[in-house]
């Protein structure tokens, strides 16, 4: 993220428009870096490469693969899994292992070409991983800023809720 983006995000998060619990959660996420504890070096390299193709992002500014690894270490899930699927961590390992040899070193087009095969051989793991990465992406303050999303800045009320009835703080947040 650029310096300008980071400053704009911090200015909003530190403003009176954001409640304290919301600020705490988003500031922590803005700076979170996890690395890998659950996956080994090779698995994590593949996961990171796959994550970049599934949900295009710069791993240097948001650590989506690390977020998945961290979640598996903490052990909190989303409350359910498909009965015929392995537990999340094992299912993801199988999915990663099913990618072609050297997947992480292929160019983007070659990686994309390899993805449909693992999607059809491991449909539940693919869906779960895609959803988990998408969640981490959409919940990240940088994404929210770039998409002009200001819903977290709700410490004052939203007096107008109709189409195109924006508050100044909503209009101002995001790339111009």
């Amino acid at each position: 993220m650029t310096t300008k983006e980071r400053e704009a995000i911090l200015a909003m998060l530190n403003s009176a428009h954001v409640t304290e619990p919301t600020r705490r959660a988003l500031l922590e996420r803005l700076n979170a870096r996890y690395g890998h504890e659950f996956f080994d070096e090779v698995e994590f390299g593949r996961l990171r490469a796959l994550a970049v193709r599934l949900v295009p992002h710069d791993p240097a500014e948001m650590d989506l693969a690390g977020t998945v690894d961290h979640r598996l270490i903490v052990g909190i899930g989303d409350g359910w899994r498909y009965a015929d699927a392995l537990p999340d961590g094992e299912a993801y390992r199988e999915l990663l292992a099913a990618l072609p040899e050297g997947f992480e070193t292929l160019n983007g087009d070659a990686q994309d070409a390899a993805i449909p095969a693992v999607q059809s051989s491991h449909p539940h793991a693919f869906e779960d991983l895609l959803a988990e990465l998408t969640e981490a992406f959409m919940a990240h303050p940088v994404t929210q800023y770039r998409f002009g999303y200001a819903g977290f800045a709700d410490a004052p009320e939203w007096p107008h809720v109709g189409p195109n009835e924006l508050e100044p703080r909503e209009e101002a947040y995001g790339p111009r």
């Binding site: 954001v18 989303d78 409350g79 359910w80 959803a131 999303y149 819903g151 939203w158 809720v161 189409p163």
Partner: protein, 513 residues
């Protein structure tokens, strides 16, 4: 003086669970002078600690893993399962339509499904009482169902972008709409036992918990009242077993932190919801002489259709379910019917649903999500019949406490498939009329219902029409597991009505004893 975390003794009634099933009766029983307490697996979530962030709010949901089987596996957790003082009402959308009288008589009307062992007239006074107590906001004249005795306590909440688009589209095809009934305040209200509840600030994060107490979750309404009357709530207490002696239940064993503890009571009421209640009964081999515990699991038909428009809608603002139509309450060719509602949505919920629902990835996925501020949704909530093939059982896989994880089998039947097809076509037509692009449909099932149904016949039901188990005289069930059919409306208000009715029956029975 006893330490603050000391367990109560000499309890008349112990309630397990503090959601829409457990909370109203806890207050009612305390009001009647009974010594009552509740065990709650989750912890307290005071409004001022609630973040406007879905990931940070995961703690409101039941995240212990459940196994989903069948042709249409149900997603749990964020979809339908709460955890905390207040249960699932912490994250419900506060959408409170009443059931209609014919919802209770499906078998009589269609020869399929089941009739409830009670009449609408038995629920009606409780609906009246609840709407006033909770502070439901709604239209002056609600156009469907029997004539109401009085208007809703507060005027309707403002309509957000999706609601206004649905209003316009429905008007084009002559479909009647109305502002919905929502248990969120359009004016401040004094709440007995709690204090002032403030007006809704139009922050559309109801499903991630209300940060100002405008939404009538149980913690700021019935539980506050119950505690002000002396009821005790033991939170962070996961029940692991019911204890029995001579055919009567004597209390419950629970884990609090690493400690295994026990509470005794003369009567126990299970209000843990349609998954945890049958799970506990099956683990203990209780109340199942009918073989019906875990059977007839139901989840509402909940098809959603989404699209994007040029207008800047900001779907994070306004009550998510602002506009309703019950014109599809009966549709030729369908058993039962459905209602239509507009949908606001939080960003992460929208994004993950889009990913799961379309399996789109790469630049296409990100490009779509970039349009979040322009997203408008519409959905249905429809009847799901009870079926032999939909049930809950204990799996061999153990959870962190060494207890078997539940496995829930769910497949739509013919009626649900027809209803989905009908609803999808209707909603696509409506969203076509507002010029929505990138329209996509998400078939889904919402709410957990059934698994310990009520009925007059002990051969085919688990509890009697008031919620007492047929098998164990002092064990009652009061939660969505006792629903005989799913009803074609959101379950919370009816659940609370059943809860007050159960409390009144219990108090009456104690008087006579």
């Amino acid at each position: 003086m006893a330490p603050a975390n000391a367990l109560p003794t000499d309890l008349d009634v112990l309630v397990i669970g503090t959601g829409a099933g457990g909370a109203p009766l806890l207050a009612r029983l305390a009001q009647a002078g009974l010594k009552v307490a509740a065990l709650e697996a989750g912890v307290r979530h005071p409004p001022e600690g609630i973040a406007t962030d879905e990931v940070a709010q995961l703690g409101l949901f039941w995240t212990d893993e459940r196994l989903s089987a069948g042709n249409d596996p149900v997603g749990f957790g964020r979809n339908n399962s709460g955890r905390g003082v207040g249960g699932s009402t912490l994250h419900y959308t506060a959408y409170t339509p009443r059931a209609q009288p014919d919802d209770l008589k499906l078998r009589t009307e269609f020869g399929q499904g089941e009739d409830w062992p009670l009449e609408f007239s038995e629920l009606e006074p409780y609906y009246d009482e609840l709407e006033y107590f909770l502070g439901v906001s709604g239209p002056e004249n609600y156009p469907w169902g029997p004539q109401r005795k009085s208007s809703y306590r507060h005027p309707p909440l403002p309509l957000n972008g999706a609601a206004r688009l649905m209003q316009k589209a429905c008007a084009e095809i002559g479909m009647k709409t109305s502002p919905a009934a929502n248990a969120a305040l359009s004016r401040p209200q004094e709440q007995e036992g709690y204090g002032t509840r403030h007006t809704c600030t139009n922050r559309g994060f109801c499903q991630a918990g209300c940060s100002i107490g405008a939404k009538a979750s149980m913690d700021v309404t019935f539980l506050a009242l119950a505690e002000s009357l002396g009821a005790q709530i033991v939170d962070g207490a996961q029940v692991t077993a019911l204890t029995m002696k001579d055919g009567r239940v004597t209390g419950a064993e629970f884990m609090r932190g690493q400690e295994l503890e026990h509470l005794s009571a003369k009567t126990v009421i299970l209000a843990a919801g349609a998954v945890e209640t049958p799970r506990l009964l099956l683990m203990n081999g209780l109340a199942n002489s009918s073989g019906q515990v875990g059977r007839n699991f139901m989840a509402h038909v909940g098809m959603q259709v989404w699209g994007q428009v040029d207008d800047d809608l900001r779907p994070y603002k306004g009550i998510p379910g602002g506009l309703i139509s019950e014109d599809t309450h009966r549709v030729p060719g369908l058993i039962g019917g459905y209602l239509l509602q507009s949908l606001g949505v939080m960003p992460v919920t929208y994004a993950t649903q889009y990913a799961r629902g379309t399996l789109k990835w790469g630049p296409e996925l990100v490009q779509h999500l970039r349009g979040y501020n322009h997203v408008a949704g519409i959905n249905v909530l429809g009847e799901c019949l009870p079926y032999e093939h939909n049930y809950l059982e204990l799996s061999d896989e153990l959870d962190g406490r060494g207890l078997p994880k539940p496995r829930i089998h769910f497949s739509f039947g013919e009626n649900e498939k027809k209803m989905n097809a009908h609803a999808e076509a209707l909603m696509r037509d409506l969203w076509g009329r507002i010029g929505a692009r990138d329209v996509w449909a998400l078939p889904r099932a919402a709410h957990t219902l059934g698994t310990a149904r009520m009925g007059a016949d002990p051969e085919t039901s688990v509890v009697n029409p008031f919620g007492r188990t047929h098998d164990i005289e002092n064990l009652w069930i009061c939660d969505n597991s006792t629903f005989t059919s799913s009803l074609s409306v959101n379950p919370a208000l009816t659940q609370m009505a059943l809860s007050l009715r159960t409390a009144d029956a219990l108090v009456e029975g104690l008087k006579q004893a």
